[in-house]
């Protein structure tokens, strides 16, 4: 009787190739981690310098004039809050309405036609939206309705940002709605529910986590949006703290952009440069929190049904 040893150790060349492939993918993943870390580090250093060296009384003042040593952080913060909330007022009804129509009411043929249009809208660069807001929305809509509004206003910018994030909200919540199993819709129809009742009482509640996630994604996009506010917001180089959306204002992102691009070609004094890092850091924390919360919701959405 002969005994042959069976080798189950496999081809060593294939093993090596497998290891190389694994390392390549590991490296790509590592780079994104490194870049994130580098961003945080670059922000933290200067931001710390700013917070340590700044005259604390100038942190709360009449407005944000970084080149004159007035660093009222509440000014860009207020602008960001006003603009992103108003943008949500525009984008949530439009985006959700479109999502519900596409997922629950549209016939397949209509859907095949509308969905790509929505995606094209999502791909429009924000500078184009900014231009549209400045040359069309502001004179034809905002100024017509509100006499007191100037050509530059936070409201015009808000509507622009709202249009910008509508496709995002629509597409993410449509995914959430479509992910609701057909069996649930059938159950509701089988009990004599009308289509609108089925949407309101079954499909929408079942998709609520995903829908909330879409809103938070939209909100963090609105907070991070720079160009529209930069073009239409008005008070980019600096401005008085303002909550009235009909007045010009600045957001955190637009304020950073204006110092970074040096639109007035002045180096500024003292901590002007550092102040931008402080803003950037605040913004980073802001969006990080929102994204984490949104991530939670998305995960919960997966577990629902």
């Amino acid at each position: 009787m002969t005994t042959t040893t069976i080798s189950l150790s496999g081809n060593p060349k294939r093993h090596r190739r497998e290891r190389v492939v694994k390392r390549i993918f590991w490296a790509s993943a590592a780079v994104s981690v490194l870049i994130s870390a580098a961003i945080v580090m670059s922000l933290i250093g200067r931001a710390t310098t700013f917070f340590v060296e700044v005259d604390k009384s100038s942190l709360v003042d009449i407005g944000w004039f970084p080149r004159r040593g007035l660093y009222d952080l509440l000014t860009p913060l207020a602008g960001t809050v006003v603009v992103s909330l108003l943008a949500m007022f525009v984008a949530v009804p439009l985006g959700l309405g479109a999502a519900i129509y596409l997922s629950e009411f549209a016939r397949p043929r209509v859907r095949r036609f509308l969905k790509p249009i929505l995606e094209v809208l999502a791909g429009i660069p924000s500078v184009v939206i900014g231009f549209f807001a400045l040359t069309w929305l502001s004179p034809n809509l905002v100024q017509r309705v509100f006499d007191s509004a100037g050509i530059f206003s936070m409201l015009a910018a808000s509507i622009g940002v709202g249009i910008l994030i509508t496709p995002l909200i629509a597409s993410v919540s449509e995914d959430a709605l479509r992910a609701v199993p057909t069996s649930l819709r059938e159950a509701a129809f089988g009990l004599g529910a009308k289509r609108s009742e089925t949407v309101r009482k079954v499909v929408f509640p079942a998709a609520i986590s995903g829908i909330v996630a879409s809103m938070i994604l939209g909100l963090s996009r609105a907070i991070g949006e720079t160009m529209v506010m930069f073009m239409v917001g008005g008070a980019v180089g600096g401005g008085i703290r303002e909550l009235n959306p009909l007045r010009p204002g600045t957001t955190m992102t637009a304020a950073i952009a204006s110092v970074a691009t040096g639109s007035d070609q002045v180096v500024g004094e003292g901590l002007t440069f550092e102040s931008v890092f402080a803003l950037g850091f605040l913004l980073f924390v802001f969006t990080l929190v929102l994204n984490t919360v949104s991530d939670r919701f998305v995960r919960r959405a997966r577990e629902r049904y």
């Binding site: 069996s183 129809f189 089988g190 009990l191 529910a193 009308k194």
Partner: protein, 305 residues
């Protein structure tokens, strides 16, 4: 081509005609549908010859595909009618014509008539929502809503504008579905906390909460283990005292165990398409012991399908 209508025992033919005529003085509006629907108790339960749903010359098309051809089938009060046959023979399609669930499939087209107490469900002015409140449905996979046990049962009555005591109705429905004792202490818990068999009984409770008089069951036990299947079958025997039940099943033993009458469908290979046809419809005992058609016998004895 076999005409299914001719396969009915001659003795039953005049009777169901008579019953149809009795309950249908040529009316067809949705309003009349409401008045025709008498509570089960007002009609003697012993009168099992009354035809509740009269399917006549039913043809269903999905686009160009002829799914079901020339089906005629009377469904009698307080009986369990089983639809059996190989996959793709159209039994679920026929079932879904009985509460207009096929309306949800855009390409589906129905010809012929399905008379419910004499009113054709496919008349122009019949509201499918109204139909589904009277003809309840239980699906293949348990599909409770992602809501509490209580809310699941209360869903149908709530959208139907039920004005009585909802708590009592929920208890009554759960009791009829033989689930009350198991869930009475956890009505506010999620329906997903229940086992598959319990979920299916919950779906039955949910369906009977709208007080339909016909229950359509589309392979209600195919996702359940034998013990849960046994309980559902027991439940069906109880339920037929009050409801008329149509069940689609792949399980011939199940049809033999629970049903009073059995309709055997098959795929007609003589046609150019795989069209479902009704081969034979008779008392369950007759179908399983001395079927008239060779094709039925072949299927029953396991020679194909």
């Amino acid at each position: 081509m076999t005409n299914a209508g001719d396969l009915r025992p001659p003795s039953t033919l005049p009777l169901d005609r008579q019953a149809t005529v009795q309950s249908s003085p040529k009316v067809s509006t949705a309003d009349t549908l409401a008045t025709v629907n008498a509570p089960a108790s007002s009609i003697s339960p012993s009168n099992t010859d009354e035809v509740v749903l009269d399917i006549t010359d039913l043809n269903v098309y999905y686009g160009d595909f002829h799914a079901v051809a020339d089906v005629s089938l009377p469904i009698r009060r307080n009986q369990i009618t089983a639809l059996i046959g190989p996959s793709g023979c159209g039994k679920s399609t026929v079932l879904r014509c009985c509460n207009r669930m096929n309306d949800l499939i855009e390409i589906a087209r129905v010809e012929g008539s399905v008379k419910y107490h004499g009113v054709d469900l496919y008349d122009q002015d019949v509201d499918p929502v109204e139909v589904r409140r009277r003809v309840g449905m239980v699906f293949q996979k348990p599909n409770p809503f992602p809501k509490s046990i209580y809310e699941n049962v209360a869903f149908g009555p709530k959208i139907g504008g039920f004005s009585g005591n909802l708590d009592d109705l929920v208890q009554e429905s759960l009791t009829k579905a033989a689930l009350w004792d198991e869930v009475k202490n956890k009505l506010s818990e999620s329906a997903f906390a229940l086992s598959g068999g319990q979920q299916q009984r919950l779906c039955i409770a949910r369906a009977i909460a709208t007080s339909p008089d016909v229950l359509l069951m589309d392979e209600p036990c195919s996702a359940l283990d034998p013990v849960a299947t046994f309980r559902i079958e027991e439940l069906m025997r109880d339920l037929k005292e009050e409801y008329s039940i149509v069940i689609v099943t792949h399980n011939m033993q199940q049809a033999a165990r629970v049903s009073d009458r059995t309709a055997f469908f098959t795929v007609d290979t003589d046609r150019s398409q795989r069209t479902g046809v009704l081969v034979e419809f008779d008392d369950t005992g007759t179908i399983f012991t001395k079927p008239t058609e060779q094709r039925t016998e072949d299927y029953i004895t396991g020679r194909f399908g």
